[in-house]
């Protein structure tokens, strides 16, 4: 008896391994932990740890098997997915094909209000043919589909997943103190093997500089974009930390309203593009945190080609072009005109991004020197988006993120019928190629189609892409073997 008691005492006193916890800083709290309703970067990054999709995008943004082990497309409008067996949700219930059907069906339900709904619109029907097989029927061939099927699969019976997430991912929610932190714990039964860390704590620090300071003070182990250019410079020079730089799947661009004079003339848009000193803006305002863009194609994309290039900075060339188009300062007021038409327009952006505000202010001064009169309109994001959606603007500076497939950054933006073609760009040739890009499944053929679109767009200048947004991450020596992901996903902590 005494022996057993001693044994129990010994067991109780045995040194226990302290849990491995990594604290990750973030700028906003997650708005929802339901993969169908997420809309901010924190939600994206946390949901990625809690759930799995049918596919998963690797670091090159290529869809690879996740909950689906394989798939085939017997005809371009029908896709068959074979599910991994013995996958369980965090509550122990088994994943079935019905859960996949439920997840995708709620995504199309207009009342559900899924932000990414438009990406799934070509899907007409989803059916579960047996417990481990799902068939997706399409209205028309849709090549980017696989890239969008990384959306997390949710159990069909669960409710209020936004606050009480239930996925199949490597981590499960332990505690969520809204506005403060999200604590995740390892899912030891994960189908991909138990995670390396015991817990991941996502800590919300809204201010960029304060977050960098908390990292320097040792309160955080990992911080990542968005970061202030000044903090990136300081942390990069600090030998205590390891930094990662990736080209993110995101761009910052000027959108021209091609239906408004004088910007309805492609030559005028080209001349204005030639007056934008990309190098100075990116070095002085962005302090080198973002890379100089060449076209609407991302360098990390399989469709990229260095041969496709938008007009380069060339002030003399721009002046000659404007003279040639008949825009000259005839009345000596410092502003060029052609007849009654002044070379003047409004340049807008949203006030939340300080770098964008500084960029438009800088450009206003630059363009004035060349006889272009620019008025600024800087508002908060909601007001900005109302005018943008109504095409009530001349030129605006904004960004695209999560461009996981070339179609996502081109189709809706440049197709005459595209839902995001706010600049009212019309080009039948572009429409035709974009349609072909969706219905062609061969990747190299698609790549050459998107290069053709990008060449036309570079010449017509409905967009002028200022930069490829950089993704930056810094971590302390406590974080071992971290592999940065250009979208800021944290699976690199697990794998």
């Amino acid at each position: 008896m005494r022996f057993i008691a001693a044994l129990l005492l010994f067991a109780g006193c045995a040194p226990t391994r302290s849990p491995t916890v990594i604290r990750v800083g973030t700028d906003v709290d997650a708005s929802s932990l339901d993969p169908r309703l997420m809309r901010d970067t924190t939600s994206y990054r946390v949901v990625d740890l809690l759930y799995d999709g049918l596919t998963r995008l690797d670091r090159e943004l290529t869809p690879v098997p996740a909950l689906a082990t394989s798939w085939e497309s017997p005809e371009p409008t029908r896709w068959i997915f074979h599910l991994r067996e013995d996958v369980r949700f965090h509550d122990g219930s088994a994943l079935t094909s019905e859960d996949v059907v439920h997840t995708l069906e709620t995504l199309f339900n207009p009342g559900f209000g899924a932000p990414l709904r438009s990406l799934y619109e070509p899907i007409t029907r989803v059916e579960a043919t047996d417990a481990n097989t799902v068939v997706i029927h399409l209205e028309r061939p849709y090549a980017p589909l696989l890239s969008y099927l990384d959306v997390g699969i949710v159990p069909r019976e669960a409710e209020d997943l936004g606050s009480h997430p239930l996925g199949t991912g490597p981590y499960r929610l332990k505690r969520w103190e809204r506005g403060s932190k999200i604590l995740l714990e390892a899912n030891r039964d994960y189908w991909g093997g138990p995670p390396k860390l015991d817990e991941i704590e996502i800590v919300v620090v809204p201010d960029n500089t304060a977050r960098a300071q908390a990292f320097e003070a040792g309160d955080l182990d990992l911080i990542q974009s968005p970061l202030s250019p000044q903090d990136i410079g300081r942390l990069s020079a600090d030998p205590r930390f390891k930094g990662h730089v990736e080209s993110g799947p995101a761009i910052t661009y000027f959108n021209f309203n091609t239906s408004r004079p004088p910007l309805d003339v492609p030559g005028v848009r080209r001349a204005i593009a030639m007056l934008i000193d990309q190098e100075t803006i990116l070095n002085r305002i962005y302090e080198g945190s973002d890379a100089r863009a060449r076209s609407v194609l991302l360098p990390s994309s399989w469709a990229f080609s260095p041969d496709v290039a938008q007009p380069a900075y060339d002030p003399e060339g721009a002046e000659a072009l404007l003279d040639e188009l008949g825009f000259r300062d005839q009345d000596g007021d410092g502003v060029r005109e052609r007849g009654e038409q002044k070379l003047a327009f409004e340049l807008g952006t949203h006030g939340e991004d300080v770098n964008r505000v500084q960029t438009v202010e800088y450009l206003q001064n630059q363009l004035k020197r060349h006889g272009v009169d620019v008025t600024l309109r800087i508002t908060d994001w909601p007001s900005f988006s109302v005018r943008r959606d109504a095409s009530d603007f001349d030129v605006i500076l904004l960004g695209w993120t999560q461009l996981v497939d070339p179609d996502k950054g081109l189709y809706n933006q440049f197709h005459s019928e595209g839902g995001l073609n706010w600049g009212r760009y019309r080009n039948p040739k572009v429409d035709e190629i974009l349609e072909k890009g969706r219905s062609t499944l061969d990747r190299s053929e698609r790549a050459s189609l998107y290069r053709e679109v990008a060449s036309i767009v570079s010449a017509d200048v409905p967009y002028y892409v200022l930069s490829y947004q950089g993704y930056h991450a810094f971590h302390s020596p406590r974080v071992e073997g971290f592999e940065a992901d250009p979208r800021g996903m944290l699976r690199g902590l697990h794998d």
């Binding site: 009342g111 809204r178 909601p382 959606d389």
Partner: protein, 313 residues
Amino acid sequence: MLRYIARRLFVFVITLLGVAVVVSALLRLVPGDPAVVFLGENATPENVAELRHALGLDLPWPVQLARYLKGIPTGNLGVSLFQRAPVSELIAERLPATLELALAALLFGVVFGGALGVVSALKRGSLADLGVMVFAQLGVSMPVFWLGILLSALFAVHWGLFPAVGRGSLGHLVLPALTLGLGLASIASRLVRASLLDTLHEVYVRGARARGLPDARVVAHALRNALLPVVSVLGVRFGSLLGGSVLTESVFGWPGLGTLAVNAISQRDFPLVQGIVLIFATIFLALHLAVDLVYGVLDPRIRIEAGGGPSAD
């Protein structure tokens, strides 16, 4: 006294009702559509129209308002458009943090500022007095945001004495409370100094001194009266501590109502903004009521008249 309180409570309720109506109306006048913000960059106009309908945003404003007002007495403040959770729940999660920070800042402001004010008044014209006045000037003119970053750089990054971010232990509270409370401490020090100097010249104080009362007792008597204007100002300032903590919260990752409010406004999350404003208005009005009542306790000369507000005779 009871009739007075009842009357004040009635005005209280009417004012809150007014606040609810005005905020709701103002929100609809501000450009920006929550459905557009929620759906983000990939939404088509059809998606937006459908979501507006699903959320009831396409209903006429009076209908939306009536629904909202109907819920208030039962504590139903609606559902956040973005977080899809009850507004009352979201506020209840954040309110303790906000109150904790505001109270700590108030305590620091009153005790520290008050002590400086007393020293300054008693040592009028001395180097200490000058020092306090310089501190007061700096304290009110230093931007909270900058002060927060500075304190964090010194006490968290450089010396590692306190955590830089988060909430939980007493240590977490120190830097945010100092940051938020410093402005108040400055104001309190100046108020106490001015008020105490006035009181020390009153006839009854000089009388007390003439009767040979010890200095400490004289000052204690004088201080009680000198605190009157301070209490009224601090009561109002507490309201602004609640609302003005946004920057402090942002710098120290403090999970309070301030950042929730700012995010709700930038997202045009109408129900959440309305709920937060209503809660702030309730606290603010309650404080005003409390200040008026405390006045009577501190100064027996003040009699609350049944028909009107407090008056000094």
